[in-house]
Assembly symmetry: D2
Homo-oligomer: 351 residues x 4
Amino acid sequence: MNSFSAGDSVRIGIVGLGRLGRRHADNLATRISGASLVAACSPVADELRSARDALGVERLYDSYAALLADPQVDAVFLVTPTSLHPAQIIDALRAGKHVFCEKPLSLDLDACATVIEEARRHPQLKTLIGFVRRFDASYRDAFDKVRSGRIGRPFMVRSQTCDKNDPDGFFVRFAPTSGGIFLDCSVHDIDLARWLLGNPKPHRVFATGTIALHPGLAESQDVDNGVAVCEFEGGKLAVFYASRTMAHGHDTTTEVIGTSGALHIGRNPRANRVEIADAHGMSNECTLTFYERFADAFVSEAQAFVDAVRGDEALPLSLHDALEATRIGIAMRESLISGQPVMFDAVRETA
Amino acid sequence: MNSFSAGDSVRIGIVGLGRLGRRHADNLATRISGASLVAACSPVADELRSARDALGVERLYDSYAALLADPQVDAVFLVTPTSLHPAQIIDALRAGKHVFCEKPLSLDLDACATVIEEARRHPQLKTLIGFVRRFDASYRDAFDKVRSGRIGRPFMVRSQTCDKNDPDGFFVRFAPTSGGIFLDCSVHDIDLARWLLGNPKPHRVFATGTIALHPGLAESQDVDNGVAVCEFEGGKLAVFYASRTMAHGHDTTTEVIGTSGALHIGRNPRANRVEIADAHGMSNECTLTFYERFADAFVSEAQAFVDAVRGDEALPLSLHDALEATRIGIAMRESLISGQPVMFDAVRETA
Amino acid sequence: MNSFSAGDSVRIGIVGLGRLGRRHADNLATRISGASLVAACSPVADELRSARDALGVERLYDSYAALLADPQVDAVFLVTPTSLHPAQIIDALRAGKHVFCEKPLSLDLDACATVIEEARRHPQLKTLIGFVRRFDASYRDAFDKVRSGRIGRPFMVRSQTCDKNDPDGFFVRFAPTSGGIFLDCSVHDIDLARWLLGNPKPHRVFATGTIALHPGLAESQDVDNGVAVCEFEGGKLAVFYASRTMAHGHDTTTEVIGTSGALHIGRNPRANRVEIADAHGMSNECTLTFYERFADAFVSEAQAFVDAVRGDEALPLSLHDALEATRIGIAMRESLISGQPVMFDAVRETA
Amino acid sequence: MNSFSAGDSVRIGIVGLGRLGRRHADNLATRISGASLVAACSPVADELRSARDALGVERLYDSYAALLADPQVDAVFLVTPTSLHPAQIIDALRAGKHVFCEKPLSLDLDACATVIEEARRHPQLKTLIGFVRRFDASYRDAFDKVRSGRIGRPFMVRSQTCDKNDPDGFFVRFAPTSGGIFLDCSVHDIDLARWLLGNPKPHRVFATGTIALHPGLAESQDVDNGVAVCEFEGGKLAVFYASRTMAHGHDTTTEVIGTSGALHIGRNPRANRVEIADAHGMSNECTLTFYERFADAFVSEAQAFVDAVRGDEALPLSLHDALEATRIGIAMRESLISGQPVMFDAVRETA
């Protein structure tokens, strides 16, 4: 049952106003139909002030509990550190709020399971984990084509998330808590592979990697270039590549291979439709960041969440999907560290 | 002087709710910051009802004069037949409204001049003719690159507007009033050429064409595939191609050639980032309509208009630009019909 | 009647050992089946020496008449200045030799006609003018696709020959005798357009151009960037572009537009299959010269000539085709200079 | 010491006239400078007849020993089943012949070592194993760019060999003796990876795969789609993909990733420079077979062999390289079958 009538907006409170949080806030304030950004929560006073001045947000909180207590808030948008996700989601659900939460759900499988259990107790509340690529127009077109049989039976996915090298190495400092390259970057590709292959159960993973430019990662047993292979039931396969060291930009590309064709998504990470012919040849500039590549998808994602909350649309991905992505990512990290293939323990699967 | 304070929205009345009008209305209602779609005007009752029901527009008019009399309307969006543009713009200006008007300004040079004269009497009102391609991210990137000297001195533009063939031939019935293929399609390319070449004065045009699929055009002395060459002062050149008969989709592409490089915009009219490998080879789908290709540019265009009205940004194109595009388009049509090159009459230039 | 038996080679004498001549010589000596390069003729002693040392050519002549008198020579390959072509072809035919001659046949229509007349007197001798692009695998594939109906009825060709800028401006010094940009460069595109459109009769041309980088061309009434439009019978059209000033390389591209599709040949003048991703984006190097682009086609062309001489294959283009290309090129030059469209005089057509 | 003087041809005897053998024979007879195809050996009388009639080969043998006894033969070209390679190479060397042998050298490491040992006893004889991709112009350009530092330090290669699906499944019948997909297909990619990464020693491999279309492969413990990861010393990595089931053609592509850029070779397996715009979008046809893709490289390879025999050029790859490719391929097969990573046994390395 949906409590929103046609004219009502979903009143949203954003939690976390860092780089990505501000972009979500901006989208919610200006580009999402049927939603109003009414509240913001951050421990940083400047960020709250900026939300008020630039976006007209009136209800400002430095405490998450206070935000949850506000009856004028229908839903929260969590753009907070991963370690906070499980508790924040559970608290929001208990406060009767719908929840959008940035990926990943958690780096801990038990925490994922606890969230799922809590969500089951609130069937009227929607919870969406932000696997933004599912909302990208090109990925959606590919998914529709796969589903329509355009490439026969899909049996393999190759997918990569490659970031432009950050000489400052922000992610090196972030490595101890990021969960490593697979849980931080490949988790998107894992989710896409499951989605595009029809949600097969994983059977086994093998992962390895190398440090090309950032020796500081060794301390966290992490790498700046990682590859992984995942075997699924039914002979389905996925091959992943994640890199922090690209020279040309953010290069996310995915290939779905089927028995009568293959689809490539984003093979040339072109920034736009301009090509340049000059003494260096023929070239195009590339998208520099994930946000530039997926800016429209972030809007579609927020819109899909709002539509679902208003009862218009089903959510395209479940908490179970988010847990599965974490589960496979954790296994990759284990394989990277142990050097051995990792079997999936049937016991740990969720129903 | 700008009468809008930070919190105020520009209150817009849309005039014309046909196919493109509805899209403008939808953008204004949901995607433009600092604007509210408050009114709509159409002779078609169903269209007004639909604007109210889908977009929440409350102030509905079947008379343009009544809309103009509404003090709750700050600006009008004219998405009406070209023949109505001049009078409607003049009436709006006299009523104290800012004006956005779809291209072309008019098919008649005297009418263009009269509008310009009227606009000069209302320096506080903004008027924008919708040459939407200037607001496309790729065209804007190309323009910025040209301006920064990336290709040396630009001396030639090649630009085309090619539509997917419409077997029903809507444009054949429209031909008697469309002004012909150059004024209807190439007018965009003419505007781009002037913009990208630094607004040189035209010297001479030559045009020709052929009827490939739609013999009914002969009655209107029109063609379904037209080519034109325009010489500008300073040895600058532009070559245009317009077609109504493409098999693959809407294919708008522009090339700017300079003394040390060249830029191509939109060389492959790819629908998105998906490529398909199958028994037919490697392929991508194409944008099917101008709207699909320029959907984002229509939003940027409306946003630029609203920003200018609010005083935040200068308008990137003037009524003089719109007149020049019409002037060159008319000369092309004359050349097509006469079979002779057409010189530009210095007398008809506006200052 | 063919005088060559299976084991016999066509014995060829090359005439002219400049840059392109050496390449033809090298191909004939090493890559053409059924042919032997047995003789060479050049006024430059060093060039003859080099042909002997590098290619094993034994019969060396500084006089063309002496070469023609050699009974061990079956065919001549003329890679000489255009002004010499007609007389050299006629002399060769009278000496009973088959003739390959570089394009264009001549810059003079009467000379073309005289050659055709002479050739008619020697039906057993083959004469081929080197419009090399017809022998390129991609152009041939496009031609076959057009012929098979793949794009419906072809009604328009757009074709360009754009050379990398030569800062030394060799072609500026060459301009007084080259016949100008259209006869020197576009003559290839003209030939392609006729071929791809089914050899329609030309009706009218219009040409213009500009000097972007080489003011010295003004003396010869030539330009370094020229555009031309050619109307053919049956409403067929061709648009040509020729440039001497490209920054990125030799960029030859052709488009054939039909009623149910279009073909592009060579849209990205990629040097090979390598793409580079680096801080400048994604790029490919370009072919730098016409020879690099058409190296394989020069081999196929020579092979086709030899096969025809041996009686195995018909020649894919006639002296009439060569004359037509010159005729249209001359009309373009006239239009460029006069500023007026040029009608084709029916009287000057050859039967 | 080289026994060939300038005018001498290397006299070659081809052994094996199957599909690929005929192509090598044709190249040797018509396109290779400094070589003559003088002899042929095949157990199939028709093949010998055809070599004589089509290529003028006079010395025909149904016995390999007889060919080796012919003093008019300087070198042999072995295009025979892999199982025969080691003995045939050794016999040829003992007969004083130079040897070109199709890849792979052998599926057996001891046999590889024996061949290397024999070759060391004949330092004046050249032996080349046909890893044809090293002779492809695009791969060579990529190699030169890597070597010149264009992409910084290369640390990863991704490479694939994907064949168009053969519904008849020839390779299924061939599977028991082919060595499996990695030794049959990936061996090329392995060789490329070593070459492009600077010949690092392999540390460990992991491989897996799936049967998408050809269940008959299960009997041979083979797959029709295989993936493998190879770790090399110094943190270098390679990821391989081999497929027998592509719908669109033969798709060989390789990527070299370095610390300041990346190179892609053959990302779109375009058949030529033609693109087609029609109701299905924009497309290009693909190369259908490895031979179509590498036709020119087969010529360059044979030319490089002949040049080396004549003393003009060093060979770009050694028997040690061929052994290493086999060694890594065998480890992949072991990993595929065992499901475990396979460490390289230092003992089995050759010096």
